[in-house]
Symmetry: C2
Subunit: 271 residues, 2 copies
């Protein structure tokens, strides 16, 4: 079975899409065709969205489902006229929170991913620049690092560092283990002062060989023997140094980042 | 007034934090101390979370608020015993969606940001590598680009490209306008074949000068005169070429990305 989902928001639609995705993954056996309608912040745009939803209803013969984070009830009313099943993300929580906090919510447009303050913006940009300049051993001055990811080449370090920078403003460096490190089963001395900020990444050898093969076809670097050896040596090193560790093979970037933050006790928050 | 918020999840906690952040920004004048408790997927971890929430209640004298995305009702019950105000993110939507879809939800642990399939993972990693190798004019082969951001140095191109890569698996290149381009008010010929994928970024001169000053203090590059001139020339170029345009000064990375996607009609979805 297929059903059509519209994420409608007066802002970016990220909140609608995040919660919609989470809820929909709980329904097995249904295929969802999903569409984003962001920045619906006046009546004309709401009317346009309504027409689009109605058209989908007519074309598919199935009632579309609208995951809605539009704050203004007048605009939600316009959307409801489309005949879709309306799932209002905020509505159920506003009452209990107003009671608990003893204050009514303000009714301005969804601010969660909109206006920024410069300090936050700067923290993200600086962290992103930091990740880029401390990627793959480019700079090895780790004094400012909040976290240093350690692992063999292509074990998932770079995307994880960039994700933590963009999302949490975390200064994340990464150190690719060299042949010397692996031969000696020893951390390089310049990492030693920062032991409490080290976090190891590992990956299954089959998967690593596949990733490396895509990158450098038919190289020794991509052979399963080479991958097995590097990972075995790295695992010995992680055990010997007692580093916290995550296998990235079946783990999303979000989950790896979340594990690192909770393991190292970093309480930075999302933007 | 200050209140304590716990984001509790059987997965990463990203959904809980996203919706919690969206709802809480609607309450003005209250400071929130927020804490993440991810991976609460068995009773022992739920008991531990409960103790932590109770301790906060005792220390602050104020009832904590729990934004909860734990799927297993038995674990939610353990959390509820903490005495916190429980805000269950999924509960209000499950009933209506089960009715509409004609099937009960499956009760496995929140999968939204957990297990990955390799195709998705590969798309994100490839897009991230693409953004890195097509950053700042490093590679100027744009044939595979889904989008090419154009703007002066430090107008916000790199973080936006990385964000779109990590979040949507979008191949985003960026092209920094050169002095030649700005002098001639003309796009370089190698961008011409990809006109429909170009998107301009601009920024306020004051803000640009500040960002550049942080990067290269006391340089001509960072003077307000230089910034004004470059931005004025770039704006003329954008107008002449009729490129879609976003000012990044007061706009978050999420919002810039969302605007680009909706303007260029790219319907890729979040991971």
């Amino acid at each position: 079975m297929r059903r059509t989902i519209f994420y409608v928001s007066d802002g970016t639609g990220i909140t609608a899409e995040t919660i919609g995705h989470s809820v929909l993954t709980q329904f097995d056996g249904i295929e969802f065709d999903t569409f984003r309608i962001p920045f619906v912040d006046d009546e004309a745009k709401a009317q346009l969205a309504c027409v689009r939803i109605k058209t989908s209803f007519a074309q598919t013969g199935m009632r579309p489902i609208v995951i809605n984070t539009v704050v203004d009830p007048a605009l939600t009313e316009v959307l409801t006229a489309s005949g879709a099943l309306m799932v209002d993300v905020f509505a159920p929580f506003i009452g209990p929170l107003e009671d608990e906090l003893g204050t009514p919510r303000s009714r301005h447009v969804n601010k969660a991913h909109g206006l920024v303050n410069f300090a936050e913006y700067e923290a993200r940009i600086n962290a992103t620049n930091y990740a880029l300049s401390h990627d793959d051993g480019v700079s090895t001055n780790y004094a400012d690092a909040d976290v240093i990811l350690v692992g063999v080449s292509r074990s998932g370090k770079t995307p994880t560092c960039l994700y933590m920078a963009l999302h949490y403003g975390i200064k994340a460096a990464n150190y690719p283990l060299t042949d010397d490190d692996l031969d000696n089963i020893e951390l390089p001395s310049r990492l030693r002062p920062y032991r409490s900020r080290l976090f190891g990444l590992t990956i299954d050898p089959q998967r690593l060989a596949q990733v490396r093969e895509n990158r450098r076809p038919n190289s020794k670097y991509a052979t399963i023997e080479q991958c097995r050896w590097e990972l075995a040596q790295a695992d010995k090193l992680f055990k010997r140094e007692n580093l916290p560790l995550q296998n990235t093979t079946h783990t999303s970037i979000e989950e790896i980042a979340s594990k690192i933050l909770s393991t190292l006790g970093i309480e930075k928050h999302m933007f």
